[in-house]
């Protein structure tokens, strides 16, 4: 932790020196101190645009999780669904979103909806793949035990497979967050009237480079916040299966 802080500080210091010594026009690359000033000065504008982008990302991830988990369960339960749908899933990731996004925006307008759809389209894939693998990898001994107790298919899913897959689903969500942030900026680039991506896109031709950088900093901080929330959830949910049992109390 200390070391990573030191690395960031050193990089910022080097950047500041590089700009101050006049190696580059401050309009093209603002110094970190200038970005920091803009963060404070433009905080109202940054905040209002953050709320727009945060809503897109939040709803996009929720939709990605709902679709991703639902698909993972459906594909897990039905072999025929798996053979029919899995290739389509992989194909969906080959669709060039870069090309399709502006068309979607053109079709549906600048609203929240199409942006949420674009984000979810990018972000659901890691959720499906990781969760489906985890469901399939459930401990066979546990399933045998449930069958010996005459558990129904639904009960096996409910009491063993789903809880066993929760940590993997959270890891999938972590990947989805990273993808969703990129997706949000991209969706806003494709057509929007607000949001941090929109702000970046507008600030560059106006030579407000410090503002563009400030928006990048805010967006990155938001992504880090989301990922660390999920990482905390992941730690809470890990139940130490890989640990050898640690004897406590009488045996």
């Amino acid at each position: 932790m200390l070391i990573s802080v030191a690395i960031v500080l050193a990089l910022l210091g080097a950047w500041e020196l590089y700009v101050r010594l006049g190696s580059v026009d401050a309009l093209l690359l603002p110094a970190p101190s200038a970005v920091a000033e803009t963060l404070v000065e433009d905080r109202g504008m940054l905040w209002s645009n953050l709320t727009v982008t945060a809503a897109e990302i939040g709803f996009g991830i929720l939709l990605a999780l709902a679709v991703g988990l639902g698909l993972a369960i459906a594909l897990h339960l039905s072999r025929s669904a798996r053979t029919a749908v899995y290739p389509l899933l992989v194909a969906s990731q080959a669709v060039p979103i870069v090309v399709v996004a502006p068309l979607l925006i053109l079709w549906f307008g600048y609203d929240l909806g199409p942006k949420v759809a674009i984000i979810a389209l990018l972000a659901f894939f890691p959720v499906v793949v990781v969760t489906l693998d985890a469901l399939a990898a459930t401990d066979a001994e546990l399933l045998r035990l449930l069958r010996s107790m005459d558990a129904t298919r639904w009960q096996r899913l409910r009491f063993v497979e789903l809880p066993a897959a929760v940590p993997a689903a959270v890891s999938g969500a972590k990947v989805a967050v990273a993808v969703a942030v990129i997706g949000a900026v991209f969706a806003e680039y494709s057509g929007s009237d607000a949001g941090l991506g929109h702000l970046i896109l507008q600030s560059i031709p106006q030579l407000e480079t410090a503002r563009a950088w400030a928006a990048v900093v805010v967006l990155a901080a938001f992504a880090v916040l989301l990922v660390s929330i999920l990482a905390a959830a992941e730690r809470r949910l890990s139940y130490g299966t890989r640990l050898p049992h640690s004897p406590k109390g009488p045996s």
């Binding site: 001994e141 049992h245 406590k248 045996s251």
Partner: protein, 255 residues
């Protein structure tokens, strides 16, 4: 360990016997797994309330035999006629994310009880089995012996009259195992069940069982049956047990 002396609470009404006569009746049971002939004609009858130990070399088909008794597989040939059985798998097979009480209460949940109700029913039994204060511990926080007790509690809470224990104590150290033998004998005295006990430990079989069946190598057959006199748990140093141990080991060596 106080639980050796305390008698566990009754789990519920004594299990109903669905099979007339024997609790387990295996007639000329053969079983193949792929190309491998695992069971080569097993005949075995277990009376209600009897504890029968199955000992045999590893890989001879003991776990397979229990799977047939528990209805997880159908035999390739022969007849398997048993009352509903509760399986205690070779590893304890506790749910790693659930605490001790939820693990013990699992069969009640599968029978449709809500979580609170199931935990409420399971809690007194867990306490009687010497796990008071550990209800909320996850399996990785428990010692090997405690994990086995949770698994036994879970098997008892299925309400089934026949317990199939697959090498339940093989992962325990010698002292814990001796303690656990005494404990299990106490549990079975208070909660009479029919028990099929698979073990590779002749000592364990002699201490806990009413009868020891020695299985041959694959394809497994019962080569010797040794009735064990006296009440459980027995003193492993008693004279007649010493003689029986020699007989069992000779049968194992000869097969």
């Amino acid at each position: 360990m106080q639980s050796n002396t305390t008698a566990p609470a009754r789990v519920g009404p004594p299990p109903e016997h669905t099979t007339a006569g024997a609790a387990v009746q295996l007639v000329r049971v053969h079983h193949r797994l792929g190309e491998v002939e695992v069971l080569g004609g097993i005949d075995l009858a277990v009376a209600h309330g009897e504890t029968v130990a199955l000992v045999g070399p590893s890989g001879c088909g003991k776990s397979t035999l229990l799977e047939l008794v528990c209805g997880l597989q159908a035999p390739s040939a022969g007849r398997v006629d048993t009352e509903p059985a509760a399986l205690l798998p070779q590893r304890d097979a506790l749910l790693p994310w659930a605490d001790a009480l939820d693990n013990a209460a699992l069969p009640l949940r599968l029978q449709g009880a809500g979580r609170g109700e199931a935990r409420g029913t399971a809690a007194p039994l867990l306490a009687e089995l010497g796990l008071e204060g550990f209800e909320r511990a996850r399996p990785h926080e428990l010692s090997g012996g405690m994990r086995q007790r949770v698994a036994v509690a879970r098997a008892l809470l299925t309400g089934r009259g026949l317990l199939c224990l697959d090498e339940p104590f093989s992962a325990l150290d010698a002292i814990t195992r001796a303690d656990t033998h005494r404990w299990l004998a106490g549990v079975l005295a208070a909660e009479p069940r029919t028990v099929l006990l698979v073990t590779h430990d002749v000592e364990e079989a002699l201490v806990l069982a009413d009868r020891v069946c020695v299985l041959s190598h694959r394809p497994a057959r019962i080569v010797t049956e040794l009735p064990i006199p006296g009440t459980r748990p027995r003193d492993p140093a008693a004279d007649e047990l010493v003689a029986l141990r020699r007989a069992a080991l000779e049968a194992l060596r000869g097969c």
